[in-house]
C-alpha cells in the first residue's frame, strides 16, 4: 500500500514539475509580476524615487529583449513609455516611442498607438500644436486602425474640454469630411460602416439633428443586410421625438425596428416607448 501511495505521490510531483519551462503561461506570469512592480510607480509617480523608475524600466526592457517574439514584449515597451509619462519624463518617452516606430514599422496597430502616445506626450507637456501634428499623422497614415478612427473625435473632444467651441466645431466639421472620405476609401468594410456612423455622431455633437438622422437613415439603408442596425433605428426615433419634435416619424422608425428586429432587446423597449407615447 505504502509503495503505491509513494508512486502516486511521485507521479503528482512530476505532473507539477511538467511545464516548468518558459511557455506562454510562464511568460504571462513573469509579466504579471513585472506589472505589479510598475503599479507601485503608477499609483504614486511623484513620490517614487528616480532609481525605482530606472530599475523597473530595466526589468521591462530585459523582459522585452529576452522574448522578442512574444506579444507581451510590445506591451512591455508600451508600459515603459507609460512609466515615463507618469513620471513626466516626456523626452525619454518620446525617444522610446521613436525607437518603437522604427522597430515595428511594419505593424500599423503598434505604429498608430506609438504615434498617439507621442502626441499625448506633447499634449501632457502643454504643446498642443506638436500633439496635433502627431494626431494628424495617425489620420493620414493609419486611418483604418482603431486609433485612426477615434482620433478626429478625440481632437474635437480636446477642444470641448478646453472650452474652445469654435475650434471644436471646426474639428467636428473636419472629422465629418475625414470620415466621409474614409467610407469611400474602404467601401463595404467594417471601417466604412463605423466611419458612416461616426459622421452621424459628429452631426449630433454639432446639434445638426436633421443631418444626423439623414446620415443614420442612409447607414441603415446601406448596411441593413450586412449588420445589425437596431440601435441606430432606436437612436433615430429618439432624435425625431425629442429634438425634431416629429412624433409621427419617431413612431414610424420604432415600428420599423420592431418589424425588422422582433427578437432584439431594443424591440421590447421600442414597444414600451410606443405605449408611453400613445398615452400622451
Amino acid at each position: 500500500m505504502f509503495k503505491s501511495l509513494t508512486a502516486i505521490l511521485l507521479i503528482s510531483i512530476s505532473l507539477l514539475l511538467t511545464g516548468c519551462g518558459e511557455d506562454q503561461y510562464a511568460i504571462e506570469r513573469k509579466y504579471w509580476h513585472l506589472q505589479k512592480q510598475a503599479e507601485k510607480i503608477f499609483k504614486n509617480p511623484k513620490v517614487s524615487p528616480p532609481n525605482e523608475l530606472i530599475a523597473v524600466v530595466q526589468l521591462f526592457t530585459d523582459f522585452a529583449n529576452k522574448r522578442p517574439n512574444s506579444s507581451l514584449a510590445v506591451d512591455a515597451e508600451f508600459t515603459i513609455v507609460r512609466l515615463y509619462l507618469a513620471k513626466e519624463n516626456y523626452d525619454s518617452a518620446r525617444a522610446k516611442l521613436k525607437r518603437m516606430l522604427d522597430k515595428y514599422s511594419k505593424y500599423k496597430l503598434i505604429c498608430s498607438e506609438s504615434l498617439f502616445l507621442m502626441g499625448y506626450t506633447y499634449e501632457a507637456d502643454k504643446k498642443w500644436d506638436l500633439a496635433l501634428e502627431q494626431y494628424r499623422r495617425i489620420m493620414r497614415e493609419y486611418p483604418d486602425t482603431r486609433r485612426g478612427i477615434d482620433i478626429p473625435i478625440y481632437i474635437a473632444e480636446y477642444h470641448r474640454t478646453k472650452y474652445q467651441p469654435e475650434k471644436m466645431v471646426a474639428a467636428l466639421q473636419e472629422a465629418i469630411v475625414h470620415y466621409r472620405a474614409l467610407a469611400i476609401r474602404f467601401p463595404d468594410s467594417p471601417v466604412s460602416f463605423t466611419a458612416s456612423i461616426l459622421v452621424g455622431e459628429c452631426y449630433l455633437a454639432l446639434k445638426d439633428w436633421q443631418a444626423a438622422v439623414d446620415t443614420f437613415d442612409n447607414v441603415v439603408n446601406t448596411y441593413k443586410d450586412k449588420a445589425v442596425v437596431d440601435n441606430i433605428l432606436f437612436n433615430m426615433a429618439i432624435i425625431y421625438q425629442r429634438e425634431l419634435k416629429n412624433g409621427t416619424k419617431a413612431k414610424e422608425v420604432l415600428e420599423r425596428l420592431i418589424k425588422e428586429y422582433p427578437k432584439s432587446a431594443l424591440a421590447k423597449q421600442a414597444t414600451a416607448l410606443l405605449g408611453e407615447w400613445s398615452k400622451k
Binding site: I11, S12, T18, G19, D23, E28, R29
Partner: protein
C-alpha cells in the same frame, strides 16, 4: 417491531467513540488519505490546465464553457476553485463512494469486533456494493449541484428579466452574495444529513439501493438533531474557506494569484481528513449506537 420509541443515541458518546477509534486505529484515515491524493492529483492537473501538455486536454473545454481568457495568467486562478469543485464531485462519485464504503466497513469492524480489518478486505466488501455506492453518491452530489444551479438562475431571472429592484426589501447584491453563500451551506448540510446513513445501510445491513436511500431519510428524521449536529460541526471548518473563496478576485489581484491554489489545497485536505472523515465515522458510530439501543 417494538412500538416503544428508541431513545436517540448520545452525541457525546458517539464523538467519544469516534475520536478514540481514530486515535487507536489510524488505518481508519487511510480511505480518506487516498481520497485526498486523488483530489490533489485532479487539482494539480487543473492548475496545470493552461500549460503544455495539459492544455491539449483542458484547453478546448475551458475555452468553450468559460472563455479563452481563463487559460491565461492570472485569470486561470479565478476559475480554479470552480473547476476544483466540479472535479471533486467527479472524484467523490467515482472514488469517494468506494472509499467511504471502505471507511464504514473498517469502522463497523472496529466497533463490533474490536479489530481493524485489512484494507484489501474493506476494499472487497465495498467493491461488492460499488454500483449502489456509486449511484447513492452520484444521486446526492448531482441533487446538490442542480439545486445550487437553480437558485442563482431563479434569482437572476427575478431581478434581470423581471426587472425587480428588491426582494423582501433587499437588493440583488445581498441575494446573489451572502444569501447564496448561506443557502449553499444550509443545502449542503441538509442533503448530507438526509442521505448520510445510506452508505452504512448498504455496507452494514446489505440493504438494496432504494431501501437504503429511503431508510436513510427516515433515520435522518428520527435522529434529526444528533445527525444535523454531527454533520454541521465538521462542516463549520469550511466557513473560513468558503469566505476566502468568495473573495477570490480580491486575493488574486491584491495578494498574489497562487494563494488561490494554496486555499484549494487546504480545502482539499480539510475536506478529506477532517470534514469527510469526522462526518462518515461519527455518523456510522451514531447509526451503530442507535441500532444497539433498538436491540436492547
Amino acid at each position: 417491531m417494538s412500538s416503544q420509541k428508541t431513545p436517540a443515541p448520545s452525541i457525546v458518546k458517539a464523538y467519544d467513540i469516534t475520536v478514540k477509534s481514530l486515535k487507536r486505529h489510524p488505518a481508519l484515515f487511510l480511505p480518506f488519505v487516498i481520497f485526498l491524493i486523488c483530489d490533489l492529483i485532479s487539482l494539480a492537473a487543473l492548475y496545470l490546465a493552461p500549460r503544455a501538455p495539459f492544455i491539449k486536454l483542458f484547453g478546448p473545454v475551458i475555452r468553450t464553457f468559460w472563455g479563452e481568457r481563463f487559460l491565461h495568467y492570472p485569470l486561470n486562478f479565478l476559475l480554479l476553485p470552480k473547476l476544483a469543485s466540479l472535479a471533486r464531485m467527479g472524484v467523490s462519485i467515482v472514488f469517494g463512494s468506494l472509499l467511504t464504503g471502505m471507511a464504514v466497513a473498517i469502522m463497523y469492524n472496529i466497533y463490533n469486533h474490536k479489530r481493524v480489518i485489512k484494507l484489501s478486505e474493506a476494499f472487497k466488501l465495498a467493491l461488492k456494493k460499488y454500483l449502489y455506492l456509486f449511484i447513492v453518491v452520484a444521486f446526492f452530489t448531482l441533487l446538490f449541484y442542480f439545486l445550487l444551479k437553480f437558485i442563482p438562475k431563479g434569482l437572476l431571472y427575478y431581478f434581470i428579466v423581471g426587472r425587480h429592484k428588491q426582494l423582501l426589501f433587499l437588493g440583488i447584491n445581498f441575494w446573489l452574495g451572502p444569501f447564496l453563500l448561506i443557502v449553499n451551506f444550509l443545502l449542503a448540510i441538509f442533503i448530507q444529513s438526509a442521505f448520510i446513513y445510506a452508505i452504512p445501510l448498504l455496507i452494514i445491513e446489505n440493504e438494496k439501493l432504494l431501501g437504503a436511500i429511503w431508510r436513510s431519510f427516515i433515520l435522518f428524521i428520527k435522529l434529526f438533531i444528533p445527525t444535523t449536529i454531527m454533520v454541521t460541526l465538521p462542516m463549520l471548518f469550511y466557513v473560513p474557506i468558503v469566505i476566502l473563496q468568495h473573495k477570490n478576485a480580491f486575493l488574486v489581484y491584491r495578494v498574489f494569484p497562487e494563494i488561490v491554489l494554496l486555499i484549494s489545497v487546504l480545502n482539499a485536505a480539510l475536506s478529506a481528513l477532517v470534514v469527510d472523515c469526522m462526518m462518515t465515522v461519527s455518523t456510522t458510530v451514531l447509526y451503530l449506537l442507535h441500532k444497539e439501543n433498538k436491540v436492547s
